[in-house]
Symmetry: C2
DNA sequence: ACCTGAACACCGTTCAAGT
DNA sequence: ACCTGAACACCGTTCAAGT
C-alpha cells in the first residue's frame, strides 16, 4: 500500500463521513499519517486528489457492470441489477456519487477520470444493447438509449440524494422510478 | 430595491460569472456596496444567502411553467416548451442550476426553498397531466410520470452541465434526449 | 434597525529546508 | 524521491462599537 493509496483512502473516508467540505488537506494528512502538504507530492492539487477518488470509483463501477454482464440471467435482469447497484452506491455514498457526476471542477480535468467514466458508460451500454437484441427494449441507436437511461437514473439518484424527493408525496424513490421507466420503454419500439 | 435584494442580485451575478466558489461574502459585499459582513444582517449565513438565490430561481421557473400552461397550444407542445425552457436555463446558468438540485447543504434548510421547489414541480405536473388527458402520454399516476420526466430531464441537464456528455460520440444533448424520451413514452400506455 | 472594522480560526498553496 | 514546518493570502463567522 503506497502513500498515495493511503491518501486516496483517507480522502474517500472523509468524504463519506462529512461530505466534500470535510476533505481538507490537513484532515487527509492527519488520517493518512503524513503532514498536511505531503499530498502535494502525489497530487497536483486538492482537486486532483478528489479526481483520483472519483476515478477509482468509476473503475469499481465499471467492474461491477462487467461482473453483472457475465451472469447467466436474462438481459433485462442484468440491466435491472446494474441499475440497482448504481442506485445503492448513490444512496450509500452520496458525497462520492456527487463527485462522479456533479463536479464541474473535476470534469474539466479530463485525463484518467474521463477515460474511466467513458469506460463505465460503455460497459453499461453493452447491457442495454443486449436487452435490445432480445427485444426487451426498443430498437433505437444503443448509445442513445443507453445515454437516456443513464441520464434518467442519474437524475433519480441525484434528486434523491439532494433531498428533493423527500416530502413530496406520490413521488417515487429511485428504484420505483427506474422500474416504471423500464416498463414504459419496453412498451415502445 | 432593498439592500437584501441587491445582495441576492450580487450573489447571482457572481455565481454566473465564476461559479459557487466565487460567491464569497467579501465579493458580495463589494458588488452590492456594503461591507463584507453586512449580509449577516439579512441572511443567517452564506448558505442561507445561496438558498435565497435558489428560491428566487425556483419561483421564476414556476412562473415560466405557469405562463406556458396558459398558452393556447396542444398539451404536448406546452410540455415541450416547458422542458426547453428548463434546459435552456440549465445551460445558460449552470452554477445557479446546480444550486437548485445538487446542493445537499441547501436542501437540508427546508423552508421557503423547499416550498418554492415543490410549487414549481406541481405546476410542471399539471402540464404532464394535460398530456395524459389528451392521450399523448401513458395513463400512469400523474405525479409518478411527472416525477420520472422531471428527474430524467434533470439528469440530462446535469450530465451536460458536468461535462459528461462532451467527447462521447453518439450521445445526445439534453434537447435530443428529451425528445427521444417523449417519443418512446408516447408509445406506451 | 443597520452597518463597520478588527479579530479568530480555518483553508489551499508555496517554499525553503531536511533525509 | 519524499517529506516537514513556516509562511502567505484567502475565507466564513463573531463581536464590540458606531449611527
Amino acid at each position: 500500500m503506497t502513500t498515495a493509496d493511503r491518501i486516496v483512502d483517507a480522502a474517500a473516508s472523509l468524504l463519506d463521513a462529512g461530505g466534500e467540505s470535510a476533505v481538507t488537506l490537513r484532515a487527509v494528512g492527519l488520517a493518512s499519517g503524513v503532514s498536511h502538504n505531503a499530498p502535494y507530492k502525489h497530487f497536483k492539487s486538492r482537486s486532483a486528489l478528489l479526481a483520483a477518488v472519483a476515478t477509482r470509483d468509476f473503475t469499481e463501477l465499471e467492474e461491477a457492470f462487467a461482473r453483472i454482464g457475465r451472469e447467466r440471467v436474462r438481459p433485462l435482469t442484468k440491466l435491472k441489477r446494474a441499475l440497482q447497484h448504481f442506485i445503492t452506491y448513490g444512496r450509500e455514498f452520496p458525497a462520492r456519487y456527487r463527485l462522479l457526476y456533479s463536479d464541474p471542477e473535476l470534469a474539466r480535468q479530463g485525463g484518467d477520470l474521463e477515460a474511466a467514466a467513458m469506460k463505465s458508460f460503455l460497459t453499461f451500454t453493452s447491457l442495454v444493447s443486449e436487452c435490445q437484441q432480445s427485444k426487451q427494449l426498443p430498437s433505437v441507436p444503443p448509445l442513445q438509449l443507453a445515454g437516456l437511461l443513464y441520464a434518467s437514473v442519474h437524475g433519480l439518484i441525484d434528486l434523491q440524494a439532494g433531498g428533493q424527493m423527500r416530502s413530496e408525496k406520490g413521488l417515487m424513490g429511485a428504484e420505483a422510478g427506474v422500474l416504471l421507466l423500464l416498463k414504459l420503454l419496453s412498451q415502445a419500439e
